[in-house]
Amino acid sequence: MNKNRKNSKERLLLGNEAIARGLIENGCSAAASYPGTPASEILTSLVRFKNEDQENIYVEWSINEKSAFEIALSNSYLGKRSAAIMKHVGLNVASDPLISASYSGIEGGFIIVSADDPGPHSSQSEQDSRLLAMLAKIPVFDPSSPKEAKEMIGEAFKLSERYKIPVMLRPTTRVCHARQIVSCEKYHTIRIKPHFIKDPKRWVSLPEFRKVLHKEMNQKLVAISKIKRHLIKHRKGNYSPSKYAIFSSGVAYAHTYDTVTELGLWNLVDLYQIRVSFPLDFARIDNLLDSYRKVIVIEETYPVIEMQIGNRKKVEGRWNGLLPGEGEITPDIIYSSLKKFMGHTTKRKPLLLAEKAKKPTLCPGCSHRASLFAIKGALPKALYPSDIGCYTLGVNTGAIDTALCMGASINQAAGFSHSFDQQKSKRPSIVATIGDSTFFHAGIPSLTNAVYNQARFILVILDNFSSAMTGNQPTAETGLLPDLSRGQPVDLKKIVKACGVRHLKEIDPYHLPAFISLLKDADKYCRQKKGGIAVIIARRPCLRDKKIKKKYKHHLITITDKCTGCGYCIKYFGCPALSMNRKKSQVAVDENLCVGCGVCKYVCSEGAIVAQ
């Protein structure tokens, strides 16, 4: 099997798999990542390819992106090719080392894969990583397809090594989650002995050294901007000279190419693909601007290329409103924008129907649903700061008031607590919720801070032993490594205690009545004179996680005639297995979806849901 795979050249690969292939084929020796859509599958695929050919590459799921960045960077300091992999908002977490590392530079080729999510499809913002690349003053590659993403990895490693500079690869959701036939080469194993070159002027970030390095960095950027293949004229119009030019990058370039073909505009426009969005060769751009009447810039998500172009009179794009300033740039949008630009009027308007997508929900039997329902039931008038993870999908329970960014729940709970205490006003109960992976990611410093500053709130750690939302990647608590071999488990309870928390309980969220009384006790503790932060760890493995064996009694759920059809369970509990039978005006259980957790029996005040 392995042999066949190795010899076959063409493979059907997801964009993220293609990126993993690119890394491994170009001799990347260490990769670290924190899972986040749309980047999650890159590291998982690396592990798969590594196993297929017994390649020696170090991979880790780091507990956050800052760790991932610094782990990979250190490997590069020792002269070996490395990659740090994350989603765009993860790059914010890693931005501190990113901006300093660009001054120090690197030894072995170092790539940051930062996957953007225009839309956004699965993120709290649609920020553009290329702006952070500009801030850090590092070059950024903007791939338009899985195939190109793979090719750019090789180019990026070479560029990184030649100029000793970190290089970013910025795919977007439609590249990460595109599938394409990609040709795969043999692995290119580079065996380099790790060697640290002592040079404090580079590696120690004292201000006196940094000004010199900043100057060097600026010189590197000028040299990199002159590389011709970073900006390619991909297709020339049929007539010369063309009146208009389109500058495009990323997957928007692919959409644009097809749309220009479809609209038959090749006699009017020349199309340029900007493969490296920063740094741009301004002299060349100015020359191009001189030879066209107008230049249209089509890119995602922020107008990063557009804003770099000085001559505002000749440029149109997202910034001046030719294209919408937010959201994904779809072929439909490009189609109508180009028509508008060309002044085309047709009888048939392009169809631009909004997609009424069905919203995602928590899975049947999800322990988060039970936890959130218990919280709402125990302390119905509380404030509920929450966090980033599957549980955010349980917003229908009414037990989630905020979700800002990774780890914010604890700081927000503390902030609310101080704010009420300051006014000596009657304070509501405050119940924060955070997942286990999110707690490891950014919760530990926050909890330490909250204890130290004497905040008072309840913190429920929704511990499902998994980074569930992104595909059940293992967490520090399980001690499982990316290849599922055993590492060193980290005890969550001991961490909470070590943060200084004195009131700590554990509960199985399926035991709803016991959970509710624990929450009420916790609230009393918070309100005591010597009270503080009460932590409850709600423990139950994620049902989707195939790595962990699940133990619970399977119940058979029936709805009795006591059901009045009020729909409370559907609206506030929201298990997908429960639905309204309109003919009978009663709730029905979908046996194909029901996992028999039996939690719903606590939900109905009429006692119409029976679990056997």
Binding site: V251, A254, D258, T259, P350, L352, P360
Partner: protein, 188 residues
């Protein structure tokens, strides 16, 4: 060959699996293939769609009114994604109500094959029995073999076969032409 296929359904119905089967089949037939899928948050019971473009394309996304074929693994999703279908495009809907040749009780057939999870393949099998579908049955079968984990293979192949037989046996209605943007209740 230039063909655009849109598959819609909800999380867990195998939209992504079906995409991989078609992709592997394109690989076997040596034709260019690019698709775009929904991952992450949306797969928790939300809508999942997959754009598939076979032939000389750069963009992985289908424009409204351009899809040649639409697969609806869940009938309810037609309302949201029907506008992708072009004039005279073909639509295949998983439904228990059989009103015309667009419908196939794929879930029922998959249950017969051994698991409702294989309804995606029953619907594909059904589509393959139509003349309008450009993939060969054997290439799809090979792709299913390549893509399916060992334990599920017999069920998956059986589901595909039952779907394929569904038309030949029970349904010899003439093909019905579907207008763009007009996939409405009359097709459900």
């Amino acid at each position: 060959m230039r063909l655009q296929i849109l598959i819609c359904g909800v999380g867990g119905q195998g939209v992504l699996f079906l995409t991989r089967v078609l992709g592997e089949s394109a690989l076997l037939m040596n034709v260019p293939f690019i698709s775009s899928e929904t991952h992450g948050m949306a797969v928790r019971g939300g809508s999942v769609i997959s754009h598939i473009k076979i032939g000389n394309f750069n963009s992985p996304i289908i424009r409204s009114g351009q899809a040649d074929i639409l697969f609806a693994l869940s009938e309810s999703e037609i309302a949201s994604y029907g506008h992708y279908l072009k004039n005279k495009g073909s639509v295949f809907i998983n439904s228990t109500k059989i009103n015309n040749q667009s419908h196939c009780d794929a879930t029922g057939l998959a249950l017969k094959a051994g698991s409702t999870k294989a309804s995606n393949l029953s619907l594909l099998g059904y589509a393959l029995s139509r003349d309008s579908f450009p993939f060969s049955y054997s290439s799809i079968k090979d792709a299913v073999r390549k893509t399916t984990p060992k334990d599920d293979l017999s069920v998956n192949l059986r589901a595909l076969e039952l779907g394929h037989a569904f038309t030949c046996g029970n349904h010899n209605l003439p093909p019905k032409i579907i207008q763009s943007g007009s996939v409405t209740s009359s097709h459900l």
